[in-house]
């Protein structure tokens, strides 16, 4: 097949942040035990105002950002979401709403459509309402999600469903995919839980076993064939958990390379997890995004490969996987510049193996995991 894409980029120079993730709020009616929000989210009180968000959008667009995700927390909690979507569309962003569907109703679906929203991604917890209830900490959410997924589809949006996989729902994968098919999804992200934030806290109770993972991959493959035979165009994207890989992922395509996240209080981050790192991140209230992206110490810290240590520094694969994830390196080794322990060349790889063993010995039910809510979060808030 001929290549119709343009891959030319300026050599070595820092490119524009093509992706902007606007985390509008940490407030959320659900309490998913796999949530990747910071543990101390409850400490964030001063959310950016509507005018401040519009300023962020305007600056980012001028820098070349074109894909925009509204997320959180639950972005629908913000009553100015429609205003922000309209402004983003006017600026030329492709606008994605990343939502739990709580707070959505038909009137809002249409108001968002009128504002120019391009796409709604809804997350599902499981196919079975009981598992869904245990994982999200809500008995009503599942039925609501299904109803809203149907309404979103009816309103003519392209629809991506996102299912975070972990040991408590991964064995249901067959019925989960069947459900997504039935809901009319255009694509399904079967994303094995990334172990950050609350998910890291619950790690031993979330990580699936190798056998569960292999069965899930086989199920996905079987469904791909089945869908193709039926001529049903529903893409299945299966994201393998890092903890079972022998090479890390090229996290965010490289530190501050194409991604920029603005957190609810205006903190500007190279990814939504980076807030946990032992460093200061600039705030959009205080400095222009252009300066933050190109000139701040935080954004330049892990760009390129000068910061790397061995074994990454002299490794042939360093441009392919950028040494993995800085947050994961920090969470596991205490050094954010270490080789991501997921890599089996890392001297710390045994930590990953230990985590797998620890998970195998963990027999907690989904109900027994720590739910992500403001009360639990207080424990992690510094005075």
């Amino acid at each position: 097949m001929t290549d119709h894409t343009d891959t030319a980029t300026a050599n070595g120079a820092t490119g524009a942040p093509l992706w902007l993730l606007a985390e509008l709020t940490y407030r959320c009616p659900l309490q998913c035990s796999y949530c990747s929000n910071p543990l101390d989210f409850a400490a964030v009180k001063q959310e950016l105002t509507t005018a401040e968000w519009i300023e962020v959008l305007t600056q980012a667009r001028a820098m070349g950002a074109v894909q925009l995700g509204f997320s959180g927390g639950e972005p629908l909690v913000r009553q100015d979401l429609e205003t922000l979507v309209a402004e983003a569309r006017r600026l030329g962003f492709y606008t994605n709403l990343i939502t739990s569907a709580l707070g959505l109703d038909e009137a809002r679906i249409h108001a968002l459509r009128d504002a120019g929203l391009d796409h709604i991604q809804i997350s599902l917890q499981a196919s079975d309402p009981d598992v869904a209830a245990a994982v999200a900490g809500s008995t009503k959410a599942h039925a609501k999600k299904l109803a809203m997924a149907r309404a979103v589809k009816e309103a003519g949006y392209p629809m991506v469903l996102n299912v975070v996989l972990h040991r408590h729902n991964i064995d249901q994968l067959d019925t989960i995919i069947a459900l997504c098919d039935d809901l009319g999804a255009d694509a399904v992200e079967l994303a094995n839980c990334q172990l950050y934030g609350w998910a890291h806290l619950n790690r031993a109770g979330l990580l699936p076993s190798q056998a569960q993972l292999e069965a899930a991959e086989a199920t996905t493959q079987r469904w791909r064939q089945h869908l193709a035979e039926r001529g049903r165009d529903m893409r299945l994207l299966f994201v393998v958990p890092d903890y079972y890989a022998d090479r890390p992922k090229a996290c965010m395509g490289g530190w501050a390379s194409i991604f920029m996240t603005v957190a609810p209080d205006g903190a500007v981050l190279p990814c939504h997890s980076a807030r946990m790192l032992p460093m200061d991140f600039p705030n959009a209230r205080e400095r222009p995004l252009q300066e933050i992206w190109y000139a701040s110490a935080a954004f330049n810290r892990y760009r390129g490969d000068d910061w790397m240590q061995e074994p990454c520094r002299s490794c042939d694969e360093r441009h392919k996987d950028v040494g993995g994830c800085r947050c994961q390196a920090y969470m596991l080794t205490g050094d954010p510049a270490a080789t991501d322990p997921v890599c089996d060349l890392s001297p710390d790889h045994h930590l990953i193996e230990a985590a797998r063993r620890e998970a195998a010995d963990d027999s907690r039910s989904a109900q027994a995991l720590t739910l992500r809510n403001a009360r639990e979060s207080q424990v992690f808030c510094r005075a």
Binding site: A16, D118, V160
Partner: protein
């Protein structure tokens, strides 16, 4: 070689997808849920002609008018090959 696409077919972008000129990148991009295809000049020019009304023959005529210096038949061949690929990749659809 690519199978010829039917000249009377009317293609359109997949629902919810958007073609856009990006000043910052100096290229056309195809935007879709949580993703982006960076297009080369010829892909951008062809997709830029899709308006949900024009059939393939019309696209070719218009592109020939736009690029009169192209050798005979080259544009038609490119357009057919491109549309077949683009359809296979799920970028475009037809009725």
């Amino acid at each position: 070689m690519n199978p010829n696409t039917d000249s009377s077919r009317v293609y359109y972008l997949r629902r919810g997808w958007r073609l856009q000129w990006e000043e910052a990148q100096q290229r056309h991009v195809l935007l879709y849920p949580e993703g982006m295809v960076k297009l080369n000049d010829s892909a951008g020019a062809i997709l830029g002609q899709l308006d949900g009304q024009r059939d393939v023959a019309t696209l070719i005529e218009r592109l020939q008018a736009q690029f009169p210096e192209a050798p005979d038949g080259a544009i038609a061949e490119d357009v057919h090959a491109f549309l077949a690929d683009a359809q296979q990749q799920g970028w475009i659809q037809h009725d």
